[in-house]
Subunit: 249 residues, 2 copies
DNA sequence: AAGTTTTTTTTACGATCGTTAAATTCACTT
DNA sequence: AAGTGAATTTAACGATCGTAAAAAAAACTT
């Protein structure tokens, strides 16, 4: 509340669409530079290990200037989270394009190829999620924790929106949760897992391992989901996700 | 190197077996209190968010006393990691007891029950792993990173040692890695995942979800592994794990 | 009981943290 | 060219961090 009056006259992005990628203009604004640098730092260090001074250095900006655009570190982090999750969601929706005509095997294969390709070009989202996801809720450590949860809900929604799946919502939820859990780990913590496997985290060998793992584990259930009829209640706890939503959370 | 001379006269645990659980004696030593408190703090905060002062408070000890037993924070963390991973490994081996006679379904079911039961009684190991696993290798943030990797290698070894599996090592590696990845996430970051699912992290409902997920995803491949003969090379990249090890890393 | 060693407490150093406030520079309007 | 508001730099605050060193207390040896 100390700075509620200050907040009202804060500079904000004029263009609603501008991510930190800077939508086409020649040189990025200071605000954009800060957000971009912040996303870099926050994708390499968990919230409390990352510092405003690191971000300032990365953005080539005096660090108090960051407080001019973002009154607190938490504000900046939440902004990065918001952009990151939004960017990821929009990409995720696109990966489904034209998959329906290919059938489960080829469709799933292409989806993962697109996914991995995106993760290689934009490694930050998965890392930011992975780095901060575990943090204990009970300690209220991470600002924007709801946004972090939104990540999975978005992924499920993108799936439902794009795939003509007929199974119980409960099964869909399990499928997407399991898929994204592995994806976040294997792509967001690739150094760790590649290290275990004796591979390099960027190598085709490792990426093939990731794809194979996701395929072996998810594809059979995806197939089954696509074949199921709505009345089939094979899933444990037949309650649908929509029913759960109506109930509140 | 500043304190290499000091290190030689450091107090150490006389009994090789004493974990922070204190093997039977009446009151824990100061060292044990510190290690136990440290494991609590390190299971709630990632390495850099945890502080020596937090640990001192938790152990009810003046914080400089910690430096008397552990010259640096990194030393203490590595000690906790070592104990944690060792404790987990020994428990893991025990979960396999008497499973062979039950067949895949019942054996796997009992294994997971034991696993989840352990995770409820000893939530720290999974959390410590989950909290620090993602950290970038290239920044050398986390001391004892090799120990963190050891976790997965141990899990695979426990599996091979206890299950009469005939498949290619490559397939075994994928099976155990996928299994433990999900286990670490769902049990080590249960607040997050339960939150997504609209459940409570300790509830029977959520634990059932975890068990079901692990079962659906792993069991089919476990069955297949148990049926495979050694010459079957269905796995991608037929190189065995032992061959990989001989090659170095 | 005196002396010695081990353990614990006290105090404090230097570094870094997020944030604030004032001084300065810049961009723009008149 | 003067004036004005926004953007940026400079300087510094209080807090916390890991660690060190010295003082004090406790435990042990003789």
């Amino acid at each position: 509340m100390k700075k509620s009056n200050k907040k009202s006259q804060l500079p904000a992005s004029k263009n609603e669409n501008d991510q930190y990628e800077n939508s086409g203009s020649l040189k990025p604004t200071t605000r954009e530079k800060i957000v971009k640098a912040a996303s870099t730092i926050f994708s390499n260090f968990p919230y409390y290990a990352a510092s405003i001074r690191m971000i300032g250095k990365e953005a080539e900006v005096d660090h108090p200037l960051i407080n001019y655009y973002f009154p607190t570190k938490a504000d900046l982090f939440q902004e990065v989270l918001k952009i990151t999750i939004d960017e990821y969601y929009k990409a995720n929706v696109q990966w489904f394009d034209g998959l329906a005509a290919l059938g489960p095997e080829k469709g799933f294969s292409l989806y993962i190829d697109r996914f991995i390709d995106f993760a290689l070009k934009h490694p930050k989202p998965m890392r930011i999620i992975a780095l901060n996801l575990v943090q204990a809720k009970q300690f209220d450590i991470i600002p924007g924790y709801q946004l972090l949860q939104q990540f999975f809900l978005n992924a499920m929604q993108a799936f439902i929106k794009s795939v003509p799946v007929k199974g119980a919502d409960f099964d869909i939820q399990r499928l997407t949760t399991n898929f994204n859990t592995m994806a976040i780990n294997y792509l967001g913590a690739s150094d760790y897992y590649a290290g275990i496997l004796g591979m390099e985290s960027q190598s085709p060998e490792y990426l093939k391992w990731v794809k194979d793992s996701l395929t072996y584990i998810i594809l059979p259930w995806l197939k089954q989901l696509l074949e199921e009829v709505e009345t089939d209640n094979r899933g444990i706890g037949g309650e649908t996700v929509t029913a759960r939503r109506k109930r509140g959370q």
